[in-house]
């Protein structure tokens, strides 16, 4: 017998075909912009809220504090202020991507910094031993949390809350009540308080701009040659231009002499900035270009589907907590470098909430499966700008808490609304 689709149903078939829109391999600028607009309307906001927020904060604080906020000294200060938050947030992006949370990341960073300080001061160890031990301690903490979450399936909220308390206890025991450990090691202190030579800063900035442009163009060329899905070349060029302009512009500002007295010279990019840049490149590579990164997104999107596809979900869950706490350790080291000491309260208080806020403001979803490493940078800058600006205004502590709380709430509600919008649009 004939098993073709029976006669008389051709109309239905045609209807079905039209359901699958024709393929537009070559996007021109107009359709790309339209696509972007449609994605925005569908709740795929990406980094847009963070960028708008950052711009309006800059305008606001420039208006309120015209002399100080945009001064070169304050810009440099802002950039080092953002470093620890950004790195902590970058680690949290991994955890948030699989739909978990690590509330202990902040105090883990404090504990690792305390361990490093102890090794430097009382152990007399060289800086690299101290740094490696601190990062190793972070990874061990992450493994423990990950194991409890992934194998025993205790909600990460509870596990990390327990660690939040427990790790503070260990820090207290390490440092002693009310104490601080000074950090005087040249290399560690240099991370957040010393600057690169100006020539090196320019070389790195130009190298990054050229490297970024080359990668983008090469990818475009490869996709274009094989008729794969690609962005229009104009947009690629604009994107490269913007990135290059930001890189070089920031380098220019940071290379200006910002010393208060004409007798000394203070200029250059703080050493911590290229460190964050390197972490950003590495994390972006891992998340976007490796199968490990792909599996992280898959677990966050649909863990059951990932499991059925043969992905080792338990391993992915544990490893994101390892990455999260490992990066927290690095963040703790930078915070210690900035303050030249580690206090008992290091990483406690609002550190973690700032970092979660940074990730979410940057565009990482609290519901898992959506987010990028760069979100931590954008969000970290927003949070640091708020902190910095309010500091310049001499805002009372209670107001700072209130304002930061409101900003966090705004970011989280935007995330939730965007998510609702996405599920509504899904046909």
């Amino acid at each position: 017998m004939s098993t073709d689709i029976p006669e008389g149903k051709e109309t239905a078939l045609k209807l079905a075909d039209s359901d699958f829109a024709t393929d537009r391999r070559e996007h021109d600028v107009k359709s790309a912009v339209l696509d972007y607009w449609n994605r925005l309307k569908a709740g795929e906001l990406g980094a847009l809220p963070a960028l708008i927020g950052l711009a309006s904060l800059f305008v606001l604080f420039t208006f309120l504090k015209p002399d100080t906020f945009l001064s070169t000294g304050n810009i440099a200060n802002l950039s080092t202020q953002a470093l620890p938050i950004t790195i902590l947030a970058m680690g949290l992006v991994f955890v948030l991507l699989v739909g978990e949370i690590d509330l202990s990341a902040g105090v883990a960073s404090g504990l690792c910094a305390a361990l490093m300080a102890k090794l430097l001061v009382e152990g007399g160890q060289p800086w690299y031993v101290a740094v490696i031990s601190a990062i190793a301690a972070g990874i061990i903490i992450g493994t423990a949390i990950g194991w409890l979450v992934a194998i025993l399936r205790i909600p990460s909220f509870v596990v990390s809350l327990a660690f939040f308390l427990g790790l503070q206890g260990i820090t207290l025991w390490l440092i002693g009540e009310g104490g601080t450990v000074p950090v005087r090691d040249e290399v560690i202190v240099a991370l957040a308080t010393r600057n690169m030579p100006i020539w090196l800063g320019w070389t790195l900035a130009v190298a990054c701009a050229v490297g970024y442009t080359a990668t983008q163009l090469l990818r475009w060329q490869r996709q274009h040659a094989r008729h794969l899905h690609s962005k229009p070349i104009e947009l690629v060029l604009i994107q490269c231009g913007v990135v290059a302009a930001v890189l070089l512009g920031a380098t220019y500002v940071l290379s200006l002499d910002r010393a208060a007295s004409p007798l000394i010279e203070l200029a250059g990019i703080p050493w911590g900035v290229p460190l964050v840049g390197t972490l950003l490149i590495v994390c972006t590579f891992i998340l976007g270009r490796t199968s490990f990164g792909r599996h992280i997104y898959a677990v966050g999107g649909n863990a059951e589907a990932a499991r059925r596809a043969g992905i080792n979900v338990v391993r992915i869950r544990i490893s994101v907590f390892m990455i999260g706490s490992g990066l927290a350790a690095i963040s703790g080291i930078l915070a210690a470098s900035r303050l030249n000491s580690v206090a008992v309260s290091a990483g406690a208080g609002n550190t973690l909430l700032y970092a979660v806020g940074a990730a979410v403001i940057g565009g990482t979803s609290l519901f898992g499966g959506r987010g990028k490493a760069r979100d931590a940078v954008f969000g970290g800058l927003v949070i640091a700008t708020i902190e910095n600006g309010l500091g310049l205004l001499g805002t009372k502590a209670y107001l700072s808490f209130l304002i930061t709380g409101v900003v966090l709430l705004l970011a989280a509600s935007m995330d939730a609304l965007a998510r609702r919008r996405r599920s509504n649009v899904g046909r």
Partner: protein
């Protein structure tokens, strides 16, 4: 009939505790044909499919794959033989795009990095092989696709790996008319490419539209395996509801 069935099961018994779910079930699926597996709720269709896919182990019976007796102890072994099941819930990651879903867990790599170019090209050719006139862009996220398109992606994932038997569990259950037609066309196309397709469905119109054979189950027994052209709509409904229809089905 000299064609070797791709899948040939005989005397399959399966019970959960004291409840016998499958009783002396025989089932075969032939390459190049769509075999519809029909039966009322609780007739044992899903259990049979899970036994075929290695999710459940059956208690007794003979399992032949392309004429060879095989033992399948896990879903992985079934996949290795080339048996793929498209479950009703599809198991797609909505936050990933079509290419990423098709290759999920089996990504192509070039050194350390993902070989996106090769994956996109392969995805495109598989989808066009299914006569889906490509779904807009293969770089769309699943979240933006319609139900029929999602079903097609799930089916494409099953056939991307040189599979020989594809089992579809109620692919049209949640779809509209046009989308159902789209999926049925894809199902037909799979069989035309030489795969053995097993289609579980409750919808008689779909079954008659697309299948070559019908296997009807009733209360854990296989009551009839017939060619679709030899039976009528009414006979199949009777087989499903009472286990017999005239000459066909269980002896009274």
């Amino acid at each position: 009939m000299s064609v070797t069935p791709a899948l040939d099961l005989r005397g399959i018994e399966k019970s959960f505790g004291s409840v016998t779910v499958l009783h002396d079930v025989a089932f075969s699926a032939y390459p190049g044909e769509v075999t519809a597996l029909v039966g009322d709720n609780g007739a044992g269709k899903t259990t049979l499919v899970k036994c075929i896919g290695g999710i459940h182990a059956f208690d007794a019976g003979e399992y032949r794959f392309e004429g060879r007796p095989v033992r399948i102890g896990s879903p992985r072994e079934a996949t290795r033989l080339g048996i793929e099941i498209v479950h009703q819930d599809l198991a797609l990651c909505e936050n990933l795009d079509i290419v990423q879903n098709l290759f999920l867990g089996r990504e192509r790599r070039r050194g350390l990095t993902l070989d996106e170019t090769a994956m996109e090209e392969m995805a495109r050719s598989t989808l066009s092989g299914l006569a889906v006139r490509t779904m807009g862009s293969v770089r769309q996220r699943i979240a933006t696709l319609s139900g029929g398109q999602r079903q097609t992606v799930a089916i494409a994932r099953a056939v991307l790996w040189d599979s020989k038997v594809v089992i579809l569990d109620e692919p049209a259950a949640a779809l509209g008319i046009a989308q159902t037609q789209q999926v049925l066309e894809v199902v037909r196309r799979l069989a035309d490419k030489g795969l053995a397709v097993v289609l579980i469905s409750h919808n008689m119109n779909d079954v008659f539209a697309v299948s070559d054979r019908i296997a009807a189950m009733y209360l854990g027994r296989m009551v009839a395996q017939v060619r679709t052209s030899d039976v009528t709509h009414r006979q199949v409904v009777e087989l499903i509801t009472s286990g017999a229809s005239g000459e066909l089905g269980l002896r009274r």
